[in-house]
Amino acid sequence: MDIFGQLFLNSLQISAAYILFSLGLTLIFGVMKVVNFAHGEFFGLVLLLIAIIVPWLNSPALPLALTYAAAGAVSILATMACGWFLYHFAFKKFQRDMVGSFVLSVGLSLLMQGLFLEFFGGVPVKLPDLIEGNLHILGGAITTQRLVLTLIALCVAVVMCWLIAATKLGKALRAVSEDHEAAMLQGIPYRRIALYGFLIATFLAAIAGALLAPVTVISANVGSDFLIKGFIAIVIGGLGSIPGSIIGSILIAVIESVGGYYFDPSLATLGMFVITMLVLLVRPKGIMGNG
């Protein structure tokens, strides 16, 4: 087996999930200047809901793919409703207040994790495989379902980048994150755009969760591991920068798969931290951060 092909495939899988996750984090930061510690909880909520719905729906009469699709759709909608609720009753009051909103999201994250543990229990769940079989490409092996899910995730990421780069909403989002007062002077409705930004970010976390459902061992605190990596990715890339978050995610994914293969996973995490420190020494606001 070709090691480089295998490592490339591994990095690709991991980075697809991280990109979706950190795109959401950086979007919320850009638009609302909120570092959302509870972002991982949206991701976790989708996974846990799917873990409840899929076994409940699963029957021989219904194809597994349809079960997953239905469960995914319901869970994503429920999570976005949860995001909408939190935006209106909590985050809206703390826009552009970095410390206050961070403290709030830390509290929310802790509270949600406690509730998850209470309602879903502490036993990890593994759902049935969506698609069986393995593929051999580029000299490496990958399960068919992982490849399909990775490709879908990359497609979502590309569509999202197109949306931000080319559409009117995307332009408004970028204008607001660059200078929200100037954007308001141009007639961009800041409040509505902030809500859209928050919901899009929630959707990205939710869809990342839904896509990982068939391949992840699901437990109540599944979000926190992703959260730390996502934070490191956007700090390296530069808070609020879309290309930065993608570069950061890819870097983190490569370190994780290569470091995890040659050394061990905890050394890879240590390596990420050292690299983050080095990047911050040279560029205190991340690779793509300005100012």
């Binding site: 570092v35 410390v99 509290g107 509270l111 406690g114 490191i232 205190p284």
Partner: protein, 313 residues
């Protein structure tokens, strides 16, 4: 306003009461409770000290852990006296904070927050990899000095009182004024010839010195430490104390730590609701009482609200 003299007298009186009360705590559950409240007050005061420059220092948990492990190695592995363990813990935490602070305090706001958070998690992971200190399962047999076996709570309360008082005095000193000025406008401080970066590093080092001692006291109170005790959650709980108590005055973290630590014991009586308890405490405090218990007390006494500690970027 309360005059300076009455407040000094009342602080001394309260300290004396706390010390005398701790003498009767013995060695049972009451003793543990006294120690936990005291150490949590110390950690909250340490966390708040870095808030003076407007930063949230989640590396606190990392420095507490370092202090705990260093002091544990000193007494349990090397058989050194407790005093040396205490100093060793403080010095180790200070030295590491000087290095880490020098690099990370070039950043500020969310960057510093996230890096300090990552620092804590990385340190915790390193502990799990070292066999000498017990790896994942942790270290056992860290006992307080024989001389103080019965009066360990009093020793802890005394050390905490001294350190909190020192932090308070520092806050009132010229250094404290510079720190608050950095929070309000660091460029302005730079223009009058003060080295902002080194002052920030000094602030973190002082806070970490205290955190290291807190860790040493904690390790000798619990007798057992494991990497899981020093995850970022420790810093998040500390943040909850400050938010509930109020951050505008040093009484806030003291009040918050005492109230929440005792309430948490009640909540623990119903089941494993630690996450929900602290999570909702933070959310309620942030949403409903922005200046914490201290703010509510000041309002009911008819005093003017003081400026918020955490800068709004």
């Amino acid at each position: 306003m309360v005059s300076a003299k009455t407040s000094v007298v009342s602080v001394l009186a309260l300290s004396l009461i706390a010390l005398i009360a701790s003498l009767f705590a013995g060695t049972g559950f009451a003793a543990s409770l006294v120690i936990w409240v005291a150490i949590n007050i110390l950690l909250a005061a340490s966390f708040r000290f870095v808030q003076l420059i407007g930063e949230l220092n989640f590396a606190l948990a990392g420095f507490v852990g370092l202090g705990a492990y260093i002091s544990g190695i000193c007494t349990a592995k090397l058989g050194l006296p407790f005093a040396i363990a205490l100093m060793g813990a403080a010095v180790a935490a200070t030295l590491l904070s000087l290095i880490v602070g020098f690099i990370t305090l070039r950043t500020k706001g969310p960057y510093f927050m996230l890096i300090s958070f990552a620092f804590t998690e990385v340190l915790r992971m390193i502990y799990t990899q070292i066999e000498y200190i017990g790896g994942n399962s942790g270290m056992i047999g860290i006992f307080p000095p024989a001389l103080f076996t019965d009066y360990y709570p009093t020793l802890v309360v005394a050390i905490v009182l001294v350190l909190v008082l020192v932090l308070y005095k520092l806050e009132q000193s010229d250094l404290g004024k510079v720190l608050v000025a950095i929070r309000n406008n660091d460029a302005l401080v730079q223009t009058v010839g003060i080295n902002v970066h080194l002052t920030k590093v000094l602030c973190l080092a002082i806070s970490s010195f205290v955190a290291g001692i807190g860790g040493a006291l904690l390790a000798h109170a619990n007798n057992v430490i494991s990497p899981g005790d020093f995850s970022f959650l420790l810093a998040v709980y500390t943040l909850a104390y400050i938010k509930v108590g109020g951050e505008s005055h040093i009484a806030g973290p003291i009040l918050g730590a005492a109230v929440l630590t005792l309430l948490a014991q009640v909540a623990m009586g119903f089941g494993p609701y630690e996450h929900i308890f602290y999570g909702s405490a933070i959310v309620i405090a942030v949403l409903l009482m922005p200046d914490g218990l201290v703010g509510i007390i000041r309002k009911s006494l008819g005093l003017a609200p003081r400026a918020q500690v955490a800068a709004r970027h």
